[in-house]
Assembly symmetry: C2
Homo-oligomer: 144 residues x 2
């Protein structure tokens, strides 16, 4: 299997929080929404079904755990979970906490409003609190 | 657990193809893209993690099988899989085959172009071929 390298567009848009057993966890640098992206650390994978069965199940477990965690912590009105990848074909799964008063509600977030980068101190605080949160679960999360 | 009733907005936008073990399978009446929606037949569920564990795993199996099937059959360039639900909170999972020359490419489809309903004979043909396809798998699909 080819080596895994994070797609440069994902790297540019996010802060790496750390790794679960299979997925790298990214915080998207857009303060409009609490927004994590899971990227399975396997080379050349575009669709979930292309992974081996054990890897698929691990991705599904990590996605589910992150979903619960985000909604419990941020108390969102709805979670949006999506694997799209038209522009960045490397498999990556968005987990976006939505609120009825957020910038794009009730639309899906893509293409509605421009990203608003976190201020430096907000970003540090958000990253740290998410790393602590992810470390508190059964995800075997290793912060970076 | 409360009884399952398909949300009227989903019913209005689609044609029911039938049922897998847990999910109802809908064909969205938009000829811009081959687009199936899976709706777990459980009452009052908004997020995947709210289902019981066995149901979660069954939904994940059905989503994966439908993903493979759609991409093999339509030979798309990318599959978009998404559970959003901001307007229709009933848990439903979009499976949309994308092509580099489709109406919304490379954007996510929501809010880009209006739906183009299938003509009657196209719709019959598409529904029948999808029912046959779904019946040919290990999904235990029952057409309606």
């Amino acid at each position: 299997m080819p080596q895994f390298t994070l797609h440069p567009k994902l790297a540019a848009d996010s802060i790496e929080l750390g790794n679960c057993q299979i997925c790298k966890v990214l915080l998207i640098n857009d303060s409009n929404y609490p927004w994590l992206v899971l990227v399975p650390r396997r080379g050349d994978i575009r669709e979930l079904y292309q992974l081996e069965q054990a890897d698929i199940e691990q991705v599904q477990r990590e996605s589910l755990e992150v979903s619960k965690l985000l909604m419990q912590h941020f108390k969102g009105d709805k979670l949006n979970v999506a694997a799209l990848g038209n522009l960045v074909p490397q498999l990556h799964i968005h987990h976006i906490v939505r609120f009825e008063n957020d910038a794009a509600w009730p639309k899906p977030i893509w293409g509605v409003v421009n990203a608003v980068a976190y201020k430096k101190n907000e970003l540090d605080k958000m990253s740290e609190s998410l790393r602590t949160l992810l470390s508190s679960t059964a995800l075997q999360f290793k912060p970076c």
